[in-house]
């Protein structure tokens, strides 16, 4: 209790991961689902930095993984929003239930 160990930080990132999971399960709007995915990616970044700091303090590999993950998450968000806007243009809605042409 008197000292923060890696376990505490892993608890926080686990809770954040499952909050994002809950959003992904319950939301049916594409933008809010994208926001839930961003929360999940951020929890993974916290894990990388925490393992780097507490388990391997002499190295920097976790920091590099975090940098590359942030870059990939930015590219992913940009492509996802382009798809969402294009879908809105053709369907007039961004609800995932309305975009079911590819389902069957």
């Amino acid at each position: 209790m008197n000292e923060i160990t890696i376990t505490h930080i892993l608890f926080v990132s686990t809770a954040l991961f499952f909050i994002g999971m809950y959003g992904l399960f319950t939301r049916r709007n594409m933008i809010t689902m994208l926001m839930a995915v961003e929360l999940i990616l951020n929890s993974v970044n916290i894990n990388f930095v925490a393992f780097n700091k507490y388990q391997y303090p002499g190295k920097l590999d976790g920091v590099f993984f975090t940098i590359f993950l942030i870059t990939i998450a930015a590219a992913e968000a940009a492509v996802a929003i382009a798809i969402i806007i294009n879908l809105y243009r053709s369907h007039n809605s961004i609800d995932v239930e309305d975009a079911s042409e590819l389902k069957y």
Binding site: V12, A15, L16, I19, Y22, V63, I72, I81, A82, Y88
Partner: protein, 174 residues
């Protein structure tokens, strides 16, 4: 309980409460603003862990880039004042049970594992921007220049892909 511990618990409570607001609020714009605060809190957690460069990148890319992009797309596609429809009761109950089960299992595993404090306690952790830059662009055994170049190609591909996806098709067949 020293100041560092109290600050950690404050930051964690802030991140988790705004995260819960971001996934449960039924007004989409408020949900985006809660996501913004949650990402800022994560940047605060990086500052607390002494990785200043990652914290700065987090604020620039997430808070300054992705959240602004999300807010723009909300304004383009939604009537942001209206409430979204409630999720189905069955789906909410199922999600809460699934998430609580996963959370319990994972926390149990983490609690039981018992991490060693550190494998090499001799060197203190420091992530200077100079060290990060040198190792990022070095071509020796522990350099990261190949993933760096790959990520630059990925960014170019994402840029072109966004333009192609969002481009309007001309009506030629009239």
């Amino acid at each position: 309980m020293n100041a560092s511990v109290i600050i950690f618990y404050l930051i964690s409570a802030f991140i988790l409460s705004t995260g819960i607001m971001a996934v449960t609020n039924r007004k989409i714009f408020r949900s985006a603003i809660a996501l913004l605060f949650s990402l800022t809190g994560i940047a605060g957690l990086y500052f607390w862990m002494d990785v200043n460069f990652i914290a700065a990148v987090q604020i620039i890319v997430y808070v300054g880039g992705i959240v602004v992009l999300i807010i723009f797309s909300i304004f383009l596609t939604q009537r942001s004042g209206e409430e979204m429809p409630k999720p189905l009761m069955k789906r909410t109950v199922f999600s809460v049970f699934a998430v609580l089960a996963g959370l319990g299992l994972t926390c149990n595993l983490i609690n039981q594992y018992g991490f060693n404090s550190s494998s090499d306690q001799s060197s203190a952790f420091k992530a200077d921007v100079a060290d990060i830059g040198t190792q990022m662009l070095s071509t020796t055994e522990h350099g990261f220049v190949l993933p760096f170049e790959l990520v630059s190609i990925l960014l170019l591909a994402a840029l072109i892909g966004c333009i192609v996806i969002a481009m309007k098709v001309k009506q030629e067949e009239k």
